[in-house]
């Protein structure tokens, strides 16, 4: 099967999921690269810096808009169609599964805080949990699109 044929058989929403995984992972690296660098420089866990968080959010929003615009133009009419029954099931299941990805690291972060009393680390771990949950929601969508529902 050619690449072109393969891409043609991927729905607009699956392509969106692939793109968002890449965008969110890149955004996560951007944010945590800064946090880790600052932590190394100061020798302790970097405090929550609202500027990093705002920069992360802006980066994600801008990248998402660009990606969605490009994919929508490429998809044409398909991008205007509402999600069909299979896509709704996939979205619901992926959202449900990703809630566990949010819960488990968040509980780990709370346990870590109870032991270390490091509030800065608690902030970063909770933020990481949110990022992972969002990334895995799209990963689970891709999995269900590929495997079947």
């Amino acid at each position: 099967m050619s690449l072109q044929m393969g891409l043609k058989d991927i729905s607009f929403r699956e392509k969106t999921a692939w793109a968002m995984v890449i965008v969110l992972i890149a955004g996560g690296f951007f944010y945590f690269d800064k946090v880790v660098s600052l932590s190394r420089a100061t020798g302790e866990t970097a405090p929550p810096i609202i500027g990093f968080v705002i920069a992360y959010v802006i980066l994600i929003v801008i990248a998402s808009v660009i990606v969605m615009t490009v994919l929508s133009v490429a998809a044409g009419k398909e991008a205007d169609q509402p999600a069909d029954e299979r896509e709704k099931i996939i979205s619901d299941k992926a959202g449900n599964w990703s809630s566990y990805v949010l819960t488990v690291p968040a509980l780990g972060a709370l346990w870590h805080y109870s032991v270390s009393m490091d509030g800065n680390m608690l902030f970063h771990l909770i933020f990481l949990s949110l990022m992972l949950s969002q990334i895995f929601e799209y990963v689970f969508q891709i999995f269900l699109y590929r495997r079947g529902v």
């Binding site: 069909d84 029954e85 299979r86 896509e87 495997r147 079947g148 529902v149």
Partner: protein
């Protein structure tokens, strides 16, 4: 790999016998994406009852002429 659902179908065969109807045309007729039609044909997705009826009506057949059910073997 997900366990294949016990629902079987003759959609591909019926499309071909109806003037080689494309997956896109069937998808448009029943209100789903082409990829969902592909998933149904491959047994990766069992359609809702409403979609199953819509598909059967497209081919002017009863629902059991299009879909079958293979119950899992009794243990």
């Amino acid at each position: 790999m997900a366990k294949a659902p016990p629902i079987t179908n003759r959609i591909r065969e019926l499309r071909e016998s109806h003037g080689a109807m494309s997956q896109a045309a069937l998808a448009e007729a029943i209100g789903v994406t082409r990829q969902t039609v592909i998933a149904i044909e491959l047994g990766k997705y069992s359609p809702s009852l409403e979609s199953a009826f819509r598909i059967a009506r497209v081919f002017d057949l009863g629902i059991e002429d299009v879909f079958g059910w293979q119950p899992p073997p009794l243990s």
